[in-house]
């Protein structure tokens, strides 16, 4: 077997369910796209499911990425995500039941107050990260928004989180730079590479 094939065979042994959640407009779909493309190039079977339309107008959104030797259903059921990546604090709490026992939570320490809170109809809960830590031992929380803002644009927070995710999954041997180059707009490529590396350094 050629080296390439050997490597592919090795990768194909890996499997995982990753759920990315956040608020419509935060770039969960782009991050998932980069992730799925990288996994496919590494020889895995990959399925990704996203929701368009109504749910994008500032609502709570989710993208499912599943990979392995063979993937059937494109969606992750409750209690079966190996990693939950939440682009916003309270969204982590909303989707937490999707995490499997012992699974890992990567959460952006970043707050977007929904309209129900802005109008006073509901409360944004206090100390969300603290409460998440109480029930999820395997948790990584940091402010990806602040890191992205320092690098040039808060919009790159999705790729900061992706960098962290890829590192904790041990998938950092995939050529993510090339994948980024092929997928993100060329204008934002440099920024996104820096965002990706800054995220990876968080691990």
């Amino acid at each position: 077997m050629s080296n390439d094939k050997l490597e592919r065979a090795g990768k194909a042994q890996k499997r995982g369910n990753i759920l990315l959640v956040g608020v419509g407009g935060q770039g969960t779909i782009l991050a998932s796209k980069v992730l799925s493309e990288g996994l496919m190039r590494a020889g895995c079977d990959v399925k990704m499911s996203e929701i368009h339309g109504m749910s994008q107008r500032g609502g709570s959104v989710s993208t499912h990425v599943k990979f392995g030797p063979v993937v059937y259903s494109p969606i992750i059921d409750e209690g079966r995500a190996d990693i939950l990546v939440s682009f916003e604090k309270v969204e982590a709490a909303r989707w937490l039941t999707y995490l499997r026992p012992g699974g890992m939570l990567v959460v952006n320490d970043y707050e977007i107050r929904p309209l129900s809170v802005l109008t006073g109809a509901a409360q944004y809960p206090e100390d969300v990260i603290g409460k998440l830590k109480d029930v999820v031992p395997n948790l990584l929380a940091f402010d990806a928004g602040a890191i992205a803002a320092r690098l040039g644009s808060v919009k790159a927070q999705n790729i900061v989180l992706l960098g962290a995710l890829v590192k904790c999954m041990g998938l950092d041997d995939i050529d993510w730079r090339t994948v980024l180059k092929d997928i993100v707009p060329s204008k934002t490529y440099e920024l996104n590479v820096r965002a990706f590396e800054a995220g990876a350094e968080k691990i």
């Binding site: 399925k47 500032g58 259903s73 209690g79 944004y124 809960p125």
Partner: protein, 603 residues
């Protein structure tokens, strides 16, 4: 070449590889990206049609004229296109004719959860159901052949999780299929009652041939397991969920990809080979009903829910009795986060104005502006389907007038004016099916009013062009239909058509008051492009509103317009400058003049 693609991208690619020449659609989630992707192939003449009926008729004409053609729509779109669909089943196809219906189990972005597989049975058209992106590509290529071979339109049924899931696809090459030489055939294509009756018999014959095909074709196949105890029958995404749910079980499968007519002989053979059968399908018991009609026992709807989409966990607990394992709970109550009108949305000011008006009823429609029903705006009494705002408004007026007549006869002293009816509709929806209602309102002398929210795009479904934008699907400039002229041509008196700036609350309020006072049908056209249109974003990027903290009295009047950029903080209001586009609605509402705009337009 291997590529990771959504089902919609794969359908577009497959249509192109199959030599499709003409494609037409009206957008609708989850189907919209099919035409958006097809438009990228120059060999296919593609268009955004005014509505789904038009789209299917365009494709039908092209098929009759000899070209391979496709029409795509969301599930409710096929209701609109049902008329040509049923009769094209009689007329048949010269160039292959494929109708894609994208259903939405789980109602992610739809007003109902109808299962369009029944349409194939009802119209007697062959139906294909792919279960992933590779099958989307392979099946749609074959769909054109099947259509030509059996002289029938093919219904290509997909669902949200097929359309919007990505999986790995092996691409093929384009087969150049020439347009067939045109031959006139009135007996086959002019559907007079006599001609239709003759075709009706042919349909029955075709049905028999199609069922034979269904029994033999490669889209329907048995996957035997070592143990022959349990068998699962499934199609589409249901098959994928079932495979995952029963990954550790030794179950056999009958995977169905050609699902009308269903394969009776194959199902019998499968049933003979196993002891027990489960049918795994979302929503309607379409396959199950047929299996039972063959006298074969099976379980499906008795175990699995009819409502919402399925997943492997639901199937496992229903069939295997395995406890669903939900993850941890953080013990915090997440505040609700439904979709909302965006910051700078041109619909906000209009709904804010309506929220302040007393004695009105709002018959609204489908689009981003449906979100006007949500708090704090809380405007809208009913939404039925595209275009219904106008026509239902006519009905409201008739019922209220009739009730008022009774009241006048019974208690003349207690006469109360009935509420004024405002029908609210977006530009794309108005062109789609609001115009016919408008004509009806005018000639039947309805005293309701119509508010057309012209944001120069089809925003809800991802900013497609429409007859009011002046561009085709390919981005070429074309005629822009003028709404004001259109209303006048439909008989609305010019003095009863008012055009206002959607961001100008006092102008909108004045127009609404005038409409309320009018005893004739009144139209308000509220203009302001969608804040998310690229060019609008660029022009307004430097604009934002700011609060003068000394003038702000913390009354929160501005917050009642429901803009996500505004947040109360320490008894004052703050505006998120990254979100704000300087629309000034909050500034117009502020009673103390504490909000002002800074920055310049980038012209």
């Amino acid at each position: 070449m291997r590529q990771i693609m959504t089902g919609n991208e794969a359908i577009a690619r497959g249509a192109w590889e199959a030599g499709c020449r003409v494609a037409a659609a009206y957008p609708g989630t989850p189907s919209s990206e099919i035409l958006e992707n097809i438009a990228g192939y120059d060999e296919i003449d593609s268009e955004w049609s005014t509505n789904e009926k038009v789209a299917l008729e365009v494709a039908s004409g092209a098929s009759i004229a000899g070209a391979r053609s496709l029409a795509a729509m969301k599930h409710v779109g096929l209701n609109v296109a049902a008329d040509p669909f049923f009769t094209m089943s009689y007329i048949g196809a010269s160039g292959g004719l494929v109708v894609v219906t994208a259903d939405d189990p789980g109602l992610f972005s739809s007003q109902n959860e109808q299962d369009n597989r029944w349409y194939a049975l009802h119209a007697k058209t062959p139906m294909l159901e792919p279960s992933d992106s590779q099958e989307c590509l392979d099946f749609i290529k074959d769909a054109f052949d099947i259509s030509e071979r059996f002289d029938a339109p093919v219904l290509f049924r997909v669902t949200t999780r097929i359309c919007h899931s990505k999986s790995v696809v092996e691409l093929g090459v384009r087969e150049d299929v020439p347009v067939k030489p045109y031959e006139r055939d009135p007996a086959k294509r002019v559907m007079t009652p006599a001609a239709a009756k003759a075709r009706r018999y042919i349909l029955e014959e075709r049905e028999k041939k199609l069922r034979e095909f269904s029994n033999e074709c490669s889209y329907n196949k048995i996957e035997w397991a070592a143990s022959r105890k349990v068998g699962v029958i499934a199609s589409g995404i249901g098959y994928q969920h079932a495979r995952e749910a029963f990954e550790t079980e030794d179950f056999s499968y009958l995977k169905l990809g050609f699902t009308y007519p269903l394969p009776d002989e194959l199902i019998r053979r499968f049933a003979e080979g196993v002891e027990k059968i489960y049918v795994v399908e979302e929503n309607e018991p379409y396959i199950e009903t047929f299996v039972k009609s063959l006298g074969i026992a099976c379980e499906g709807r008795s175990l699995l829910p009819a409502v919402d989409e399925l997943n492997a966990g639901i199937i496992q607990s229903a069939v295997l009795g395995r406890e669903a394992k939900s993850g941890p709970s953080a013990g915090v109550l997440p505040p609700p986060r439904p979709p909302v009108l965006c910051p700078g949305c041109s619909h906000r000011g209009v709904f804010y104005t309506l929220s302040k008006e007393k004695d009105i009823v709002v018959s609204s429609d489908i689009g981003c502006y449906t979100l006007g029903v949500a708090p704090p705006l809380s405007v809208t009494d009913s939404v039925i389907c595209m275009g219904a705002s106008v026509s239902a408004g006519i009905g409201y007026f008739k019922a209220f007038s009739s009730a008022q007549k009774d009241a006048r006869e019974e208690k003349p002293e207690k006469q109360k004016k009935p509420p004024k009816i405002f029908s609210v509709i977006g530009d794309s929806t108005f062109f789609h099916s609001g115009v016919t209602g408008l004509i009806d309102a005018v000639i039947n002398k309805s005293e309701s009013a119509l508010l057309i929210l012209d944001n120069r795009t089809t925003a809800m479904t991802g900013h497609q062009e429409n007859p009011g934008t002046g561009f085709t699907i390919k981005g070429d400039a074309t005629v822009r239909i003028n709404l004001r002229d259109l209303c006048a041509a439909c008989g609305v008196r010019p003095e009863n058509v008012r055009t206002v700036d959607s961001y100008d609350i006092s102008a909108v309020t004045q127009a609404v008051r005038d409409a309320k006072a009018s005893r004739e049908f009144f139209v308000i056209i509220a203009e302001q492009p969608c804040a998310l249109i690229k060019d609008v974003v660029r022009r307004r990027a430097g604009l934002r509103c700011e609060v003068d903290r000394d003038k702000c009295i913390g009354c929160k009047a501005c917050v009642k317009a429901g803009c996500p950029a505004l947040s109360p903080n320490d008894g004052k209001v703050e505006i998120d400058s990254a979100m704000c586009n300087g629309c000034m609605i909050c500034a117009e509402i502020c009673p103390t003049g504490a909000i002002s705009r800074v920055g310049e337009f980038d012209e």
